[in-house]
Structure formats: structure tokens, C-alpha cells
Symmetry: C2
Subunit: 387 residues, 2 copies
């Protein structure tokens, strides 16, 4: 297949504003048709076109510049054509800032039943009603064009961990062929809808924990000359050192002038290391899911909100936090809300955890711009306890 | 038992500002240590010291002047002594405006297991863990003093519907004896804690659907000279006409200069009729519970948010509503959130329904003040469809 013409002009220009002299960390600005994104950036996950428990106004107040939604879920419900008719995702959910849609590759493998991988794509049954579907790279591009997110992901196969080398290689080669088909269909669709804001297609590097597979995947993906590249298939259960090694071996092979997105990573203790290796973008359900499970991130480490020791604590969850939750409510009240299974607890914890993550990223960015990133990392390691 | 000295000075002064010339409706101002309440008023229910799904800032934005919490639930969890140590309910939940606590009489009968009514009080097992408890009027006053709400309710027995006359009479007499004991203990406790803001004890009129029992209950309750009176045991399944008849027979017997509170009523179509009969205060879980069940109140009637007909509707839930939900989100998005079981749906619907109820009350109050309440009722009947 010949190289498709993927062009989105300067709409997705990526400016690297500062580089840390001691690590690969960088601070940048990624332009999109729905605003510029300061990097490194954490993208809150809004799978069903809602970041669970929060209003869009909360996300604006938190300073989220981009959120993530999911092609798989929105295809099944309420349907991508319906979303398109209602103004695309931006109009449908009333979110004026940037959106990224995941392609559904990961979800098809993690959620759906009876999936079968073929060269054409993946046959699967819906996790909602058992209905049968075939996701091809071309259909996924049609879905992501209908949803209209600023950044769309190529359809890939996400390998589990552990994954034998032969399987990982076959899967990576399939992901590459699907990436080429994704890019070709994306180019066709982009030509058909020049009246709407352009969308940027990001490619996904697979290859499990095998450096040479990752290297080969990058090499061939680069032929597509995409506006951004993601590292997929990580944070799926492999040892942390393997994850960091895969980042370290992959990032230097990617073009310096394009954003790099590490998919599915969002533990506070991982962010600094990944940024130091040159990652610009992150998404993860951890801050929001942990919040709903009653685990909060604070400046000194994790706090279990159901812990009995909080029951009489009149002080805020994190005395160093200036979020709305910490400004108004006590640890005792938060614990009570969780004990009583009250929705407000989920919301207050979610708001706090996202505030924590977004401030963490903003702190790193500021440090990189100021040339003090190494100090920032030392400070973080000395204050944040536990995993 | 001699009449106890219940005094809360002018802290709970009730000013009747206007009376409708054609009905018993009136507009007033009920002063409390945590602000003045414009009546008629609807009090959102925050059973566990949270109005489900909402933040306290949302309630402030909605203009809620008083909310309700529940002594039964808070006694069981997190415990009234704990709440007292954390600054009382106002401090615990960070709510600076007025609070009313229900005594738990209704909850003991509707929620707990193996309850046994004795002269002393009610023995019951917790609906949470089966632990055994005895609620006496005295203990309930201690709980309500510890919680520190502005308005506290006497401990009563709430009869179910239907209820034979003999049972209703015995129960009403018991409620009267408990009211006297509640008032006596309240007076003692008030004397012990003169350093904290005063609390107003309201009596509860019982008597099922028997006018002569209601009349006798009022007559004897009035001997306690309480700062406010509630109508209990209604909206428990009796025909609507019976409910209205009980209000009509009871209200004229109550002192004109004291607020009248109809417990547990909150259907839009009932509010105008009850206000016309002279009710000043209401509480009900209907607006918030219905919201979570996917039923919204609108200017033209109820809307089922899961209804398939909403799936492609780009317009707001209620075009005549200026609440945050209707200003930003479409019917299609709301329906999607409910179909996907997303918490944001519960929250947006709750915010809308409470906005609806509070605006409904404000509209009635304005009409009473302007001398146009009959026009308001005619307008409401002509626009609001269904029950």
C-alpha cells in the first residue's frame, strides 16, 4: 500500500518550548482546533463522553485542556452516527476544549466476548447485549471521524502481558498493517469533510516487552509521517522496569518534533520517570477509578478514604491542596460519605484526584521550563510515599 | 407532666408578610440562627448529611435556604456524638444555612427491623448491621441537640395507611405523650447549652385520616406552645382527597403566627393545593429520588429521561428552564448518561429537579406577595400535565 497523504496543516503544530538538560523531559505546546494543550499533559478519561461524576464545568475549572473518550463504547451506545448528528462529541457532551478518542483496540480485547482476530479486523460480541460486530481499521476511522475528536487513534491490537515473542511479533505486524489501512481511510475521510475542523491521526507502537519489535514497529510507522505517536501495550501487567525500558528504547526513535503519548499510564510515581524519558501525553483511569474506590492521592501519598482513622479528623484530605474538596470538606466528612455509599463522596474524591494529577503535570512543566526538573523529581520522591 | 418552658426568644420569629385574599395561602419569613427562610419553602432532603449527588455549593447556587437531615441515619452512622465533636451538622457537612432534622420516628417504622413500640419508646434493630437500639423521646432530643440543627422534630409514631381508628387513636395519644417528653427534655438540654445557637422544637400532628383525632392532637399539642407545627402521617398512601381534607381540617386549628410544615409532600401538583390550605414548609425525597430514577419535572410535566424518544433531541430538557443542566446539556446527552448508568446523569437531573421545585415555590411566594396566587394556580394547572 502506498503512503497515504495525511495532512492536517498547522492545526496540530507541536512546539517544544524547553528541554531538560539532564533528562529527556520537555515542555511543549500542542495546538488543536479546540485550543492549545500545555505538555506534559494528563488527559482525564471520559469513556462514555463523561468523566465519571464530574460536570464539564468542573473539568474547565480544573484546567483540563483535553479529555479522552472511547470509540468502542460510543459506537455501541449511543452510536457514532447519532453523536455526529448531534454536533460530534464536542457538541454532544458540550465540551469546547480538545478531545482524543481511543480507537477501541484495547477495549475490544478487554471488554468484549468471543472476539476473533482476522486480517480484516476483529469480530466480537458487545459486552452490553451480545450483538455481533466487526471492527476494521476502516470502520474505526469512520467512527472516529463521526465522533469528531481532535486526535484520533489508529486501530491496533493490544497484546496482553506476558506475550510470547512470536505472538508479539505477529500482532505487531498486524497492528502495522492496520495502521496503514487506518491512515489510508483517514486520508480519504479527511478529504470528504474539509468543512469540519481537521483531525490528527496518531499511530500506536506495539511490540510487547521486546525492544527489537518496538524498534521495527516505530521504523515502519514513521513511514506514515503521522502528527503524533503513542506507546501502546504497556501498563498491562508487565514489571515497571520493563515498562520504563520500553519507553527508553522507543522514544529516541520517534521524531523529536512530534508529541509522544504513553497510553494507560497514570500512577503519580510513574509520571516523573516517563516524562524524564520524553513522554508528552498520558491518559489513565487510575485517578478517577481510584477516587471512586475510595483512594485519594495527596502530597504525601495515598489516603484510603474508608479508613477508620479518618472518622474524627476535622482537617482537609490534603492540607497542601487548594482544590474545592480540600477547601471545604473534612476527612471525617469524606469518610462518612464513603461509608454511607453517597455519590457525593465519589465526586469530591474524583475532583480532588484529577486536581492532584493536573497540578502534578503542571508542576513538572513549570520545572522543565525553569530548568529545575531534576530538583522537582528529587522533591517528589522525598515527599510522595508508596505506590 | 407540667408544661415545659420552651423558649428560643426571637431567634425563630415567623413573619407573615402577605395573605392570599381567596385562599389560606401566605408568604412569610422564618428567621433562624442560620439565616431567614422565605416561605412557602421546599426543603431538599439530605438524609445522610448530603443531598444526594449535589455539593453544598450547588445547593447554595440553587438558593436552598434550609435542608433536611435525619436523626435516625446520623445516629447510626457516623454517630451523633461524632458529629457534635466535628462542629455539629453545620460544621460536619460545611453547610452555613439552616438545617432541620427529622426525629427518626418515620424511619424507625419504615427502615428498621423487629421494631417494638413501648410506652418508653421504640426498640428496633439497625437496618445497617442488625444492632439493637431503643429510641426514646429523650434520647432523640439528645441526638438532635448533638446534631445541632436549627429546627428539630419531636419523636412521634407515624401510622401507616390504612390504619383502623382504634390504632390511630392509641398511636396519636402515644405521640402526644412523647411530644410532652420531647419538649421537657429539649427544655433541659437547651438550658445546659446556652452557649450554642438556640434550636426550635416543632411538634407533629398525627391522627391518620380521622379529623377528630387530628383536632384532638392539635388541641393538646398547642399546650406545649411550640414555635412550629408539622402535619405527619400524610402522603403515606392515603387518597389525595383524604390528605387534602386532613390539611384543611388541621391548619385552621393551628396558630396563625407559627409556621406549618407538611411532612413528606413534594409532588409538583400537590404544592399549590397545600399552600392554598395554609402550609408554609415542605420536604420530600421525590424531586431528588425521581431524578435518580430518571424522571424530571419540567414546565409542561414529567419527562422520562430513559425514553427512547429523547435519543436524538438536541434541545434542552426544559426550554423554559434556566438551570445549569438545561443551559448546557441536551435531552439526547441526558438520555445517553442514563442509558450508560453514568453518575453525571443522576447529578444533572437532581440539580434540575431541585431547581424546578425551588422555582415553583418562589413563583408561588411571589404570586402571594403580588396578590395573584389564584392566577398562578390556574396557570400551573393549565401548563403542568399529569402526576
Amino acid at each position: 500500500m502506498s503512503r497515504p497523504a495525511v495532512s492536517c496543516g498547522d492545526a496540530f503544530a507541536f512546539e517544544v518550548l524547553a528541554r531538560d538538560p539532564e533528562t529527556g523531559a520537555r515542555a511543549g505546546l500542542l495546538h488543536t482546533p479546540h485550543g492549545a494543550i500545555e505538555t506534559p499533559v494528563f488527559m482525564p478519561v471520559g469513556t462514555h463522553a463523561t468523566v465519571k461524576t464530574l460536570e464539564q464545568a468542573d473539568l474547565e475549572e480544573l484546567g483540563a485542556a483535553i479529555i479522552l473518550a472511547n470509540a468502542y463504547h460510543l459506537y455501541l451506545r449511543p452510536g457514532h452516527a447519532r453523536v455526529a448528528a448531534l454536533g460530534g462529541l464536542h457538541g454532544f457532551m458540550s465540551w469546547p476544549r480538545a478531545i482524543l478518542t481511543d480507537s477501541g483496540g484495547y477495549q475490544v480485547f478487554s471488554l468484549s466476548a468471543l472476539r476473533r482476530v482476522e486480517e480484516a479486523g476483529v469480530r466480537f460480541q458487545s459486552h452490553l447485549d451480545g450483538s455481533r460486530h466487526l471492527f476494521t481499521p476502516e470502520l474505526v476511522m469512520e467512527i472516529e471521524h463521526a465522533l469528531g475528536a481532535d486526535i484520533i487513534m489508529a486501530f491496533d491490537e493490544c497484546t496482553p502481558y506476558p506475550c510470547p515473542r512470536g505472538d508479539a511479533e505477529r500482532s505487531m505486524e498486524l497492528t502495522l498493517r492496520w495502521a496503514r489501512r487506518s491512515a489510508a481511510r483517514h486520508a480519504e475521510l479527511a478529504g470528504l469533510r474539509a468543512d469540519r475542523p481537521p483531525q490528527a491521526l496518531f499511530g500506536i507502537v506495539q511490540g510487547s516487552v521486546y525492544p527489537e519489535l518496538r524498534a521495527r514497529c516505530v521504523e515502519q510507522l514513521l513511514e506514515l509521517d503521522l502528527p503524533g505517536y503513542a506507546l501502546g501495550g504497556l501498563a498491562v501487567g508487565e514489571p515497571r522496569d520493563d515498562m520504563l525500558a520500553m519507553i527508553a528504547t522507543t522514544v529516541p526513535r520517534l521524531p523529536a518534533e512530534r508529541p509522544r503519548y504513553l497510553m494507560g499510564v497514570g500512577l503519580p510515581q510513574d509520571m516523573g520517570d516517563a516524562v524524564a524519558l520524553g513522554i508528552d501525553m498520558f491518559d489513565c483511569v487510575v485517578p478517577t477509578r481510584n477516587a471512586r474506590n475510595g483512594t485519594a492521592f495527596t502530597s504525601t501519598g495515598r489516603v484510603r478514604l474508608r479508613n477508620a482513622s479518618l472518622a474524627d479528623e476535622a482537617g482537609p484530605l490534603d492540607p497542601q491542596c487548594d482544590c474545592r474538596t480540600c477547601q471545604r470538606y473534612s476527612r471525617a466528612y469524606l469518610r462518612h460519605l464513603f461509608q454511607a455509599n453517597e455519590i457525593l463522596g465519589l465526586r469530591l474524591a474524583t475532583y480532588h484526584n484529577l486536581h492532584y494529577m493536573l497540578r502534578l503535570m503542571a508542576g513538572m512543566r513549570q520545572a522543565i521550563l525553569a530548568g529545575t526538573f531534576s530538583h522537582w523529581r528529587a522533591w517528589f520522591r522525598s515527599t510522595y510515599q508508596g505506590g
